[in-house]
């Protein structure tokens, strides 16, 4: 406990003693944390919206015009027995035409020239969120597509899957960039801490000669890195919040429209905590690496 108290007091003093060099280290950590924080902010919001969309997925089974009522009944039974459906609705050819005319009023006049109603009858199925996530709906869709009387099945989760894959790629590249910047920040912290270490060579030599425990010798340098990481994270979170506020003020409405009415949100406390812990770990790692030269 006394070693921690000593390390923190010494680190605090050193933190202010080497002002410019410390500012560089803090800036490096803040930059890395901003990159990681931006990535988290974007992916967390997109994940959240995608989850909402996943919870509201539907699929439509288009029936052939010559499908018999027995074939339709078999399809409905398969849906009901699968446990995937929240609710289902039969849309007849006439209802489909009426819906088209009301939803696309500008094009409604075109349908007057039709000799025959081209819209197929369909079954619209609202998928249970747990079934969508577990992939059971995909299995059902494949089964239904192969059933007699079924012309086609459209499942709007496919584009969600494609989007999710794209998001994973962005996330991977972003994390790689953040990791690289984190490493650079750790190296900067190590260099700054080593500067402080050189300034305290006499002190360290005396500490060794009087038999000071290694934790007392190395602890202040690790704590200094930890403090630099913490301050870097606080600055990064401040910058992220400011950036978020600007984006929300200027483009909040547009983004909400794109996101189907969902408002963008700032990072939750859990992720902010992770960001701070990550930045402090990077700082401490830099301090620890530098402190090897002390003991």
């Amino acid at each position: 406990m006394r070693a921690i108290d000593y390390a923190l007091r010494q680190a605090w003093a050193s933190f202010w003693r080497s002002g410019t060099a410390t500012a560089f280290a803090v800036l490096a950590i803040a930059l890395a944390a901003v990159v990681l924080g931006t990535l988290l902010l974007v992916t967390w919001n997109v994940d959240r919206v995608m989850e909402q969309w996943t919870d509201a997925t539907e699929f439509s089974i288009f029936l052939r015009d010559d499908a018999t009522s027995e074939q339709r009944g078999a399809v409905e039974t398969a849906i009901d027995q699968s446990g995937v459906s929240d609710r289902r609705e039969y849309v007849s050819k006439t209802q489909a035409l009426t819906r088209f005319r009301s939803q696309f009023a500008d094009l409604a006049s075109l349908t007057n020239d039709f000799d025959d109603n081209p819209f197929p009858a369909s079954l619209e199925v609202r998928v249970r969120p747990d079934a969508a996530r577990a992939g059971r709906a995909d299995t059902l869709v494949r089964t239904l597509a192969a059933m007699p009387g079924v012309a086609d099945v459209r499942y709007d989760r496919e584009w969600l899957t494609r989007m999710s894959t794209g998001l994973d790629a962005i996330r991977g590249a972003g994390f790689a960039l953040a990791l690289l910047m984190g490493l650079a920040a750790a190296v900067t912290v190590a260099a700054v801490v080593r500067l402080g270490l050189h300034a305290r060579t006499d002190e360290i030599e005396i500490m060794k000669l009087v038999g000071s425990p290694v934790s007392f010798i190395r602890g202040p340098f690790v704590a200094e890195g930890l403090l630099q990481g913490g301050l870097g994270a606080v600055i990064a979170i401040g910058l992220l919040w400011a950036g978020f506020a600007v984006v929300r003020a200027w483009w909040g409405g547009d983004l909400s429209a794109i996101l189907d009415g969902a408002a963008i949100q700032f990072l939750p406390v859990r992720l902010v905590g992770l960001l701070v812990a990550g930045a402090m770990s990077v700082g401490a790692a830099g301090g620890f690496a530098a402190s090897r030269h002390a003991a």
């Binding site: 000593y6 006499d202 000669l209 009087v210």
Partner: protein
């Protein structure tokens, strides 16, 4: 207290700093190590402080085999040793009081006890009125008295001094030696490396003379 058996320290150029050295220093003794420059005085003190390791032979201090101490054991061993150097080795950014109390702080002594003990030893060396001064504000003699206070603050069983009067005039040198004699009178073993023959004569204690890493005379 100190025992060496056939102790040697060979440097990479093939030169012996110490060669086949066997000597004993009893507990509570005050001993001078003397000899010309390069005789091996400082090397022996470095070995006693485990700043360096012997090439051959045995070295025991207070029951510790210094040839086989681990890094953690070295730090524990050093807690029982006080050291004084010619260049004082004070921390320039810390006050007189902090320079002394610092030893206790890094050894994990509670703050109240640190203050009491540091003030006590500073009073003993006669510098209690300079506790807020920085080393740069002190004379050489005063700085060495601070170094002595620091060496004694954790009540060591052995004090090692390497040319402690090398930077001081004769009067101040005697003053420092008198302090070390007082330390010794309290039961602490004191080993002083010096080439100052006049000082040795004035203090009048057992003297081990080294030359080219060997003991050439014990008086």
């Amino acid at each position: 207290m100190i025992e060496t058996h056939h102790l040697s320290k060979l440097y990479s150029r093939g030169l012996y700093a110490l060669h086949d050295l066997s000597l004993t220093v009893e507990k509570g003794e005050f001993v001078f190590l003397t000899g010309p420059s390069g005789a091996g005085k400082s090397t022996l003190l470095r070995l006693l402080l485990v700043q360096d390791r012997p090439t051959e032979g045995e070295l025991f201090v207070n029951g510790h085999d210094l040839t086989s101490l681990s890094r953690g054991d070295v730090q524990e061993y050093r807690r029982g040793i006080g050291f004084i150097f010619q260049d004082f080795k004070l921390i320039p950014t810390r006050t007189v009081f902090e320079n002394v109390a610092f030893v206790l702080e890094v050894l994990g002594v509670p703050a109240g006890q640190q203050r009491r003990r540091a003030f006590q030893v500073l009073k003993w060396v006669g510098l209690q009125h300079r506790i807020n001064a920085f080393p740069r504000d002190l004379s050489g003699g005063e700085q060495q008295r601070i170094a002595i206070a620091r060496a004694l603050v954790n009540d060591p069983a052995l004090v090692l001094a390497d040319e402690p009067t090398g930077n001081l005039d004769p009067d101040l040198s005697l003053e420092i030696m008198n302090l070390l004699r007082e330390v010794n009178a309290g039961g602490t073993t004191v080993v002083v490396a010096t080439h100052d023959r006049e000082l040795i004569r004035l203090v009048g204690r057992r003297t081990i003379t080294l030359d080219s890493g060997r003991v050439v005379e014990v008086t």
